[in-house]
Structure formats: C-alpha cells, structure tokens
Amino acid sequence: MPKDSGIGTSPKRREDIRFLTGNGKYTDDINLTGQSYAAFVRSDVAHGKINSIDTSAAENMAGVLAVFTGEDFADVGGNPAGWLINSRDGEPMKEPKRPVLAHGKVRHVGDAYAAVIAETAAQAQNAVDAINADITELPAIVDMATALASGSFVHDEIETNQCFDWGWIEDNRAATDAAIRSAPHVTTLSLVNNRLVPNAMESRASTADYDPGTGDYTLYTTSQNPHLTRLLICAFVLGIPENKLRVVSPDVGGGFGSKIYHYGEEALVLAAAKKLCRPVKWTASRSESFLTDAHGRDHVTKIELACEKDGTFIAFRTDTMANVGAYLSNFSTVTPTFLHGTLMAGNYTVPNVYVNVKAVFTNTAPVDAYRGAGRPEATYSLERVIDKCARELALDPIELRRKNFIKPDQFPYASAAGLEYDAGNYDALFDKLEEIVDFGGFKARRAESEKGGKLRGLGINSYIEACGIAPSNLVGILGARVGLYDAATVRVNATGNISVMVGAHSHGQGHATVFPQVVSEMLGVEENSIEIVHGDTSKIPFGMGSYGSRSLAVCGSAVVRATEKIINKATKIAAHMLEASESDIDFKDGKFSVSGTDKSVAFGEVAFKAYVPHDYPHDELEPGLEETAFYDPANFTYPSGAYACEVEVDPETGQVTVESFTAVDDFGNVINPMIVTGQVHGGIGQGIGQALLENCTYDENGQLLSASYMDYAMPRASDLPFYTVDHSCVTPCTHNPLGVKGCGEAGAIGSPPTIVNAVVDALHSGGHTHVTHIDMPVSPARVWSAINS
C-alpha cells in the first residue's frame, strides 16, 4: 500500500493557507509603534569623487529626524568577503573596505552615500532630494578587459582592478597545457555568461528597533540566513555584541542568493534606531533593488576541450574574467572560484582540468552568488563546448557525453577538478531521458516545423553540481571564514506536540511542510503535530541559513540527528516506565515496547513523563525532552541530471520559442516529490529566462540600462512551456542520513546550455552552419544577426 504520510509523500503545503489568504507576514508588513522611515541618497554617476555633501537644507525639512553620511561610519568596520582567495602566486586577494555608506568616492550607480530618517517615508524621500552633494565624476570602469588594462582604479588604494588571479588546480596547469598542445583535436569556444538581476519579487527591506533600557537591538530583515547576517553585523561592521542583536527574517518573498548577504542598509537602520531610540524602517523600491541587490553571473570565458578523434576527452582548460562589481559582496569571491572551478570536470573522466579566473572590480553593482552560483557558469561553458565538439567531430552529442561519463562502478570518483563525487549514475539519467523524450519522432517534428517556415532544434545537456554546502573542514582549507554546518533543536512539548527550531530559512522551499515529514517518519507522530520554527535568532540554534541547495542535506541532517537523540532519551524514559532494560526496548510507529512482551507506552506518554517527572530516576535522567544537534557534512552532495529541449526558431525574425523541456534529475532520495518538482520548474524558468530573455546591461558610462521591468526582460508565463520533470533515478547521497542531495538550483544550472544547444542545432538544420555559438540571451536580434552574418 502506498504511504500516505512521511518521507516520499506530497502533503499539501501548510504555509500556503496564509499566503493564499493575504496573511503572510513579510518584513514590510511589520509596523512598529513610533517607527520612522529611512531613505537613501544614491549616486547617479558610476564613479565619482565626493568633494562635499551639504545636508543642511535636508536637516531643516519637515519631519526630518537625522541625516547620515559616510563620514558617520568612517570608523566602523567594513562588510567583509566571506572567503579569502589567494592568487596563483600566493598573494591574498585584494579586499578593499566596503563601507556602510560610500565615503570619499562613489563606485557604482546606486551606491548610497547618505541617508535620511524622517517621520514619514514621503518626508524622508523629500529630504533625500534636498541633499546637495558635490561629486566630481570620474571615468567609469565598466568593461572587464578594459578594467584590467586601466590605469585608473575603482579602489585607488589597491592600485589595480584585479581582485585575484586564481588557478585551479595550479599544479595541473603544465600537464593540462601539454595535453592540449599534443591533442589530436581541440575545440575552442569564447562565450559570455550574461549578467542577471536576481529579482526576488519581494524587494529588500529592513526595520530596526532599539531598546535603550536593555541595549537590545532587533532587526527585521529580508534574509536567507539570519544568524549569518547577525554575525556579519556584529563581528565585522557595527561591533554590537551578538547577544544584544536579534535578527528576525519573517516570511521572505524569494531570495535566490541575493538575500544571503548583509547590505549596508541593515547597518544604517540599526545605527539610526539607536541614535533616535525609535524604530527605523526601510523598504527598497524595485529601482533600488535593480541598482543595489547583488547581481549574478557576468563571466567572460574562453574554454578549450582537447580530445581524441573518437571523442575521448583529454583536457578542459578555461580562462575566465569574473566581474565582482564595485565591492566584494559576502560570497562574491567563492562563487567564481570554488563554486565554479571545482565543477569544471563535469560528469566526465577527463584527466586534465585547469581553470584560471581573474576577478575584476568595475563600477557596477556587486556581483555575487545567484541561483546556482558558479555552477551554472561551469555547466554552461562545459556543455556548450562539448556540443560544439560533437558537431566538429560529427558525433552524436549524447553518445559523446556517454563515452566520457564516469561509470557507476567508479564511485567514489576523484574528479580532475579536485572534488570527490560520492554517488551518481549518469548513463541511467540519459536512459531515462531517452525513455521520456521521443527522440525518434524528432525528425517528423522538425519536418512539421519546417512546413510552417520554422527551424526546429533539439538540445541536450548533462550537469553535475556540488550542493549541500558545505563541509567546514574542507571549505576552511579553501579559504572560508565561516563554518557551513547547520543546526536543529527538536523540542517535544509535554502534551506531545513538537517544535523543531531550524537554522535553515524557508523563502519558498516549503520547510514548514517537509521537515515535519522527516520527524514524523522517525517518531511516528502526526505531521500536523510538528511545527517548524525558523528565521529568528532568538528562537533557533546557530545555523547558517538556506542557499546552495543545503536546507535538507545539511539542516535536514541536523534535524535527523536531533530526533535520534530524542529517541535515545525517550527510550531511557520508556525503559524506566516499563521497568525494563533499555536494551530490551523497541521503538516503532510511535510506540515503545518491551521486546517479546505486550507491554508498551506511546510516545506521547513518554513525553508527558519527561515533563511531569514524578517517580523519575533523577540520578539517571534529566527531565525534559529537547535535543539539539549540529551537523557538519562530510562532503558536498552531487546532484546530476540529463536535460533535453526542443525549440523552434523563426528564421525571418530570429524569434526562439521553447516547444518542450524535459529534466531528468538525480537528487538522491526525495522527501516531498511535489515540492522537488516545483523547485525544478522554477529553476528551468530561470534558465530559460537567462538563455532567451534576461540581460543586465550597463552602458559605457556605467549607467544601468536594464533598471526596471520595462527594460529587463523577466520571463512571463507566455514565454515558457509546461515542463516534464522526473526524479526517479536515484543514487542516494552516501554521507548524509537521509541520502538527499538538494534540488533548489538544478533547473537553473542545467537549462541554459540545453536551450542554446537547441538553438544552434536549429540553425544548422536550416543550413546556417557558420553559426557555432550565440551568446545569451539568445534574443531575436542576435539570432537574426547570426543567421545573416
């Protein structure tokens, strides 16, 4: 009989009720008594020297309570990068200070250099308009190649625009170079991984409160990781003792990476709340989000694939420039390096891999981890060059990949890019893909499209990602400045219901529904009696939040460990209640029983006994039933997948439409198939958006051209098809207790090359064989130009 609850089932999401009835509680929905409002003065030039800021008029305006400039924060700490990356020569990366408010110079359009606090939001905005800054505009440094050659600098004090020049793995460089020199065939491809704006539908918002009686601060903020935000504010920026700052991240309307980071606005409202002894609220406009949220991607890459004439891979070598923008955001240095370079062996037995990444400062918004973070960039480079190689050697693109796949009996497999893949079966994924997609019928579908004057293309792709971020031991060696464990507390209440406090943060992933499935399965209690508590540092243990497809693999593992401790203690209590030896107690389906007898007590009775410990062996047992576990993963997890899509291209207009899209993923064990499928859908939507529509563009003066939904092409419902998603190919993760790998980013990683591969295939079918690549977004103009070039 199929299960109707617990692991592997799809209960409806309990959090949906409040979202569907308007009862969600997002940061801007929270209003505090006596709150004032912050507004920021932002640079309208990309690069400029601040000569003076005249705030006098603003200070005298109605309702204005305070005005801050960069000078006020000159002595507090900078917002740090979370990873130290060393260059190939061993030199540490350049790490200029990222201040709360720009001081001395403004470095990108939108860079805040002053802030106003007023009684109303409108008064604050009026006062912003009255602040008069004398700023000498300097030439903007926008293009990365130009930046590296330039004698003028985004940060004058470091006298270079290069943050680091990273080699991975440097010891493999000579062998890779030699292998490529002597290879029978080398395919080379230059490509751009287009810059994206995250665009969580809820823009950033932060409201701070300060209690002058206790000295306690509270910050309500749109964060994916409240403890990390608290740590950054306390240990690096404002110096507030951690135990005096409570960070609350209530319902958060999407993050996708952009809400991992600490931003200056959070520090500003905290400082202002203390100064005024009043709550201070700030909510970004969408325009501010475009200008100041950390952007994603923005790589310029040349990749070479060396192989035998039969397609056996010999080496991959990449040279990448990665834009980090004007300041180092918290994950900005790890994203183009260890989240990118370590994946450059893909799913393949290639013996030689070398990756060079130069990170470049420019007068643009900071760039950081976004929805896949480094892994989409790696997959795109690899899978595009492999597709090109297949075409050059007249090999079937699936067969070329299969020929080079790591085989199931080779796991654990040490990849040439330095990771140890624990489990996978990439051939099985393609078997499943071939089973679902009617490849045999493609010719007929293509002929049908051609009858209508359209070209039809078939694109396929495979990917691997490293998720479950991350083993602290390993990342510490690689330069991480934090641990990347997570934590959970399971509190069984006296009446038997359960609160589970988790370090992970749900901003759409469904933790409130999924984590209870795990605990219910283990304890044999109803899912509905289990409540998840997250997003409040005063309630939850110190966890690192949600990103990198880590919630279940890392925090879920902590939930399992804490629940195991609950079972262990409850077993002791049950043994006492049943007057039996602990070793004779069996726990099954929520019942403790003495093996070989009919004596038993229910879990609820044990919980009650724990809190009403009359007749309790106090010398052996503490009262209460509450356990905490921290879980630090032994390795990354390695989800993988095989994707296919079909596109139609209108050769007259260059318009591309996605006719079908199929994603076959191995996420290890699946706890809630409905939610996993939804996560993949969303990722594919993002991937098609990147491939066909989205492009964050600055002009040569550093003005953001794509600064609204009128200029930045967000994918709409009519741009996208229904997707076919399968996750029945399962190789469980070998090193976490649930055998799960993570699914949040897969779609965004696997889909962009699938689409571009299909477009190139379509154009070749129409005789446009000179087109070997089109950069994303593959817009009608680019396709038309490629056809007609």
């Binding site: 799809s10 409806k12 999401r13 959090e15 949906d16 009720i17 409040r18 979202f19 569907l20 009835t21 308007g22 009862n23 969600g24 997002y26 801007d28 929905d29 209003n31 409108a122 969580a200 539908m201 809820e202 823009s203 319902d251 958060v252 309307g253 999407g254 996708f256 969408r286 325009s287 901003h507 759409g508 992933q509 469904g510 198939p673 409905m674 939610i675 499928t677 939804g678 996560q679 859908h681 969303g682 990722g683 594919i684 939507g685 993002q686 098609i688 609204s708 939904y709 009128m710 967000m714 994918p715 709409r716 419902a717 009519s718 996208l720 229904f722 997707y723 076919t724 998603v725 779609g747």
Partner: protein, 161 residues
Amino acid sequence: MQNISMTINGKPVSGDVEGRTLLVEFLRNDLHLTGTHVGCDTSQCGACAIHVNGIIVKSCTMFAADADGALVDTIEGQANADGSLNKIQQAFQDHHGLQCGFCTPGMVMAAADLLKNNPTPTEAEVRHHLDGNICRCTGYHNIIKAIMAASGQDVSAIAAE
C-alpha cells in the same frame, strides 16, 4: 488631505489621504491590509492586483482618492464565508502553484478576473492573461495548472505532481 470612503471586501472603510497616496498605500499602510503586495514601481509585476468595481486593477497605479466610493476586493476577502479557501485558492494549494507566496495574492486576483470572463480558458489564454503578473519562483507551470484546474478542466495530463 482628503477624506475618502469605500467598501473593501464588503465592509465600509474611510480615511484621510494625500492626493498622492496610492491605493495600495492606503490599503497597506492605513488599513493594514498587507496581503496586497508591492513588487515594483512601474506597474509591471502585478503583486498589487486587486478588483475595483469588479475590474482588475494594479493598485500601485491608482490614487486612493480615485477609489472614493468604489467597491474594492482584495486577497483578504477571497476565502469562502466559512474561512475555507475558495476554488482558485484551493487549486493553488492543491497544485503547488506558489512557493514564496509574494506574487500569489496578485496571481489569485488575476485568475479570478480571468475565470469570471472566460470560465474555461485554454493554456495559451491563461498564460496571456498572466502577462502582467511576474513570478520568480515557480516557472509558472503549476500556476497555469492550478488556474486551469480551478476552471474545472482536467489537468491530469499536465506533467506530474
């Protein structure tokens, strides 16, 4: 300041607003009806969609004063009288048509508008109708499926889960 009155979700309300106060600001800030969201400042995203006199409106695009005397419906008034989810809301839950929930109120209001005027829309019609509503989480698949299911159509052939 101008005193305005309107009927919201069947209840009479009134308040004093500036001429520049947007209807969404009046709903959120004055009436604390925070289910209507603001996702942009250019009337593109649809998170603030409500019904005014039975017509779908982006409430960031209308001054509160212009709604004086109007009948206004927001997400807070969509559930059945007994508090249970209405047909569209229930379909969104049944088909996992929401993730972070931020665009959801606008999606539900847009879906209600569609189904009122076109009780059994095709997939293409649903997608076209949602061009003014942006979702960043779901890739729209389950939103389309939910709306078609709410219209009474059989969606079992649309991919699993």
